[in-house]
């Protein structure tokens, strides 16, 4: 992330694109936040694999809980997509939010335009909640079952 965040805009500008300015603090938050999201996703995946105990099931479930909300959100659009990005683990991706939200400006604040429904930290908290839940369930299951 420390490489991508500065490199991406540089490449985009080099190719003649207009890139919205972001403060160094925002870039830092996105770099750290994105890494934290990936780390949380990895922990959730470990918990899932401890519960499911099969590579095929765990990989599919892990991919599904992060991809499914996005695919559904882009298909359904409107209010449903906003709720999907609030309530599912995909909310953690709010950490990638870079553009400021101006409440006095009437604009389509949708995912397609680069806006997530939750603030970065709130979205990350939702993801952490799911991670904790998965870890707790995995611990319980691991204690109860025979290997």
């Amino acid at each position: 992330m420390a490489v991508i965040v500065p490199l991406g805009p540089h490449l985009l500008r080099a190719n003649g694109n207009y890139v919205f300015a972001a403060t160094t603090l925002t870039e830092l938050r996105i770099a750290i936040g994105a890494s934290a999201v990936v780390a949380m996703a990895a922990i959730t995946a470990i918990a899932l694999s401890a519960m499911l105990r099969r590579a095929a099931a765990a990989i599919t479930a892990g991919a599904a809980i992060f991809l499914l909300p996005f695919i559904l959100a882009s298909a359904a659009g409107g209010g449903a997509s906003q709720w999907l990005l609030r309530l599912t683990p995909a909310a953690g991706l709010s950490m990638l939010q870079a553009l400021p939200h101006y409440s006095q400006v009437s604009y389509a604040y949708t995912l397609g335009n680069g806006y997530y429904p939750l603030t970065p930290l709130a979205g990350f908290a939702v993801l952490c909640g799911y991670t904790l839940l998965a870890l707790a369930a995995a611990t319980l299951v691991l204690h109860r079952r025979d290997a």
Partner: protein, 257 residues
């Protein structure tokens, strides 16, 4: 060939995971379509394709089909069964053809049920979202030629996804790596295409990626805005499936188990 077919059928039929995955593929596909059709809100700005919307579940159901196809081969390597299989069927192209035929048949059957369920969901649920004849949208119906093409194409799409996954798993021979590769191929390409700003390059990417090209078969309205025409799009996916089966077949023939 008949013996190989029967042997593969016995293995596939007697695995407990096969039944679960087939039921899961139907259930997930229909459930996603029901949810999308149920929560959809008509937005005055964009044109809606009721058929395509009803068939959204195929985008998720394909993952279950891919897992089924991968497991049919990779589990044999994980358990060592492949050595028995190759002793019984030493001619490897025949073995791969038998696996492909069995998977294609099962997927065809499951795809028919799943797609029929999706269309039914769209027909029953979309009118309450304001997508009805009163607003200028016909009910989802197979008597509408493009809808019939989208439905038949979606079933074929699932079959081709199964064959693509089988080829990848035959080449990679490991469950986790094969599923990761197949899901990446299916789901990362559309996400990557969204990130490409240049419209020409995005269009090219969507024309060659297996999912975005293959799913063009679902479009029934506004065909000019699609990256690729319906049947050529499915043809691109067929080329992917063929290439993957060829690569898998060549590696299967050349390598020791």
């Amino acid at each position: 060939m008949t013996d190989a077919l029967r042997a593969e059928w016995t293995k596939l039929r007697t695995l407990p995971s096969t039944g679960w995955l087939l039921a899961g593929a139907v259930g997930v596909t229909i459930a996603v379509s029901v949810i999308v059709a149920g929560v959809f809100h008509r937005n005055a700005h964009n044109a809606i394709d009721p058929t395509k919307l009803s068939l959204t579940g195929v985008q998720i159901g394909q993952a279950v089909i891919a897992v089924l196809a991968v497991l049919a081969t990779s589990e044999e390597y994980d358990t060592g069964m492949i050595r028995v299989t190759l002793t019984a069927t030493p001619r490897r192209p025949i073995l791969l053809a038998a696996k492909a035929a069995n998977l294609a048949g099962l997927t065809l059957l499951v795809g028919l049920i799943a797609v029929a369920g999706c269309l039914l969901a769209g027909r029953l649920l979309l009118p309450s979202a304001g997508i009805d004849p009163a607003h200028g949208y016909a009910l989802v119906s197979l008597s509408h030629k493009p809808t019939l093409r989208a439905a038949a194409g979606s079933v074929l799409y699932l079959v081709l996804i199964a064959l693509l996954s089988l080829g990848v798993a035959t080449a990679i021979r490991n469950t986790a790596a094969s599923i990761g590769t197949v899901l990446g191929l299916l789901y990362l390409a559309p996400v990557a295409a969204q990130l490409v700003n240049d419209p020409t390059w995005r269009r090219h990417l969507e024309q060659i990626a297996p999912t975005t090209a293959g799913l063009a078969i679902q479009a029934t309205t506004n065909l000019h805005s699609q990256p690729i025409a319906p049947w050529p799009g499915l043809g691109v996916l067929a080329a992917w499936a063929l290439a993957s089966l060829l690569a898998g077949g060549i590696l299967l023939t050349l390598r020791d188990a």
